[in-house]
């Protein structure tokens, strides 16, 4: 045979392509649809009406999906007849309640953040929320992103965020060194920020010079 074919390029190690869907339970489908479809104007793109499922005691449920851009989806389960567990006056959300003394920072650590492209779009979502029953609770300028926050009708914290600038090469190095230092100190006794920063300085001395030689383009991000 004279026919030749190019060998297929090897596939990348990292192959996933973002969020297909993230799913959460709801006990308030009416509020959930008002919040995501009517206030935020996220299209409803899919739903499943299931009469039980698998195990004998599985309740009938509706699984419904909102488009969150980029082909990604946010999904909810509504189980007919199912009641929320735990003390409903305690901090938490539709999925779980935490002890009463749990601080806000911990409760809010589990959240979903959606990306918008610029300030105009961030402020557009801010105004949609502010005109609704779920006004923006905070608008925060972080290190490299600006975000607005509210809680949806289920108690889930929703963040909408815009990047203030692209992530630089040196921040990828810094993240890698932080995670190496974190894993080292978290595997030892009494992990602390002090121990992490001490370990990270050792890693900077060991690796940052070689990294710079391999990544000279990093300077473009700080040269005016």
């Amino acid at each position: 045979m004279s026919e030749t074919t190019e060998p297929a390029a090897p596939k990348a190690v990292h192959r996933v392509r973002g969020v297909d869907h993230a799913a959460f339970p709801t006990f308030d489908p009416v509020g959930t649809v008002r919040f995501y479809r009517d206030v935020l104007k996220f299209p409803v793109v899919h739903s499943i009406c299931a009469a039980g499922w698998g195990p004998e005691k599985h309740p009938d449920f509706i699984h419904f999906f909102f488009d969150i851009g980029n082909g990604d989806r946010l999904a909810f389960f509504y189980y007919f007849g199912w009641q929320p567990a735990g003390d409903q006056s305690a901090p938490g959300d539709a999925w779980a309640r935490l002890p009463h003394e749990t601080p806000e920072f911990f409760k809010n650590s589990r959240h979903i953040a959606l990306n918008v492209s610029d300030e105009e779009d961030l402020l557009e979502y801010r105004s949609r929320l502010d005109e609704s029953e779920w006004p923006v609770e905070m608008q925060v300028m972080h290190e490299t992103i600006e975000s607005i926050y509210t809680h949806d009708p289920n108690g889930y914290m929703l963040e909408i965020t815009r990047q203030l600038r692209p992530v630089t090469l040196q921040e990828d190095l810094d993240a890698a060194l932080t995670i190496e230092a974190l894993c080292d100190v978290a595997a030892g006794e009494d992990p602390s920020m002090d121990k992490l920063l001490t370990r990270k300085a050792e890693l900077i001395v060991e690796k940052a010079g070689d990294w710079e030689n391999e990544n000279p383009a990093w300077r473009e991000s700080v040269e005016v």
Binding site: E143, E202, I204, K207, E212, V222
Partner: protein, 81 residues
Amino acid sequence: MARFYVLEVPENEGVIRVAADDPTCTVDRVGPYCRLTANGPIVIDRRATGVRHAVWYSAVSGLEASVVTQHDKDALRVESR
């Protein structure tokens, strides 16, 4: 000797500038990090840096034989351990 590292990104420029303006503090570079060194404590005045809250509290990348003894709305103080 007090010594700590700050990543060179645009947001940290104010911290690095204040250190460089301090005659007791030496600033040199290790890869993309600025290395701040002084014989005595290094004290960075928050207001002089002009950096915002989130940047201020995440500006320190590494501590070499040193310890943070103050990091609040007024100042960052790093001393020999």
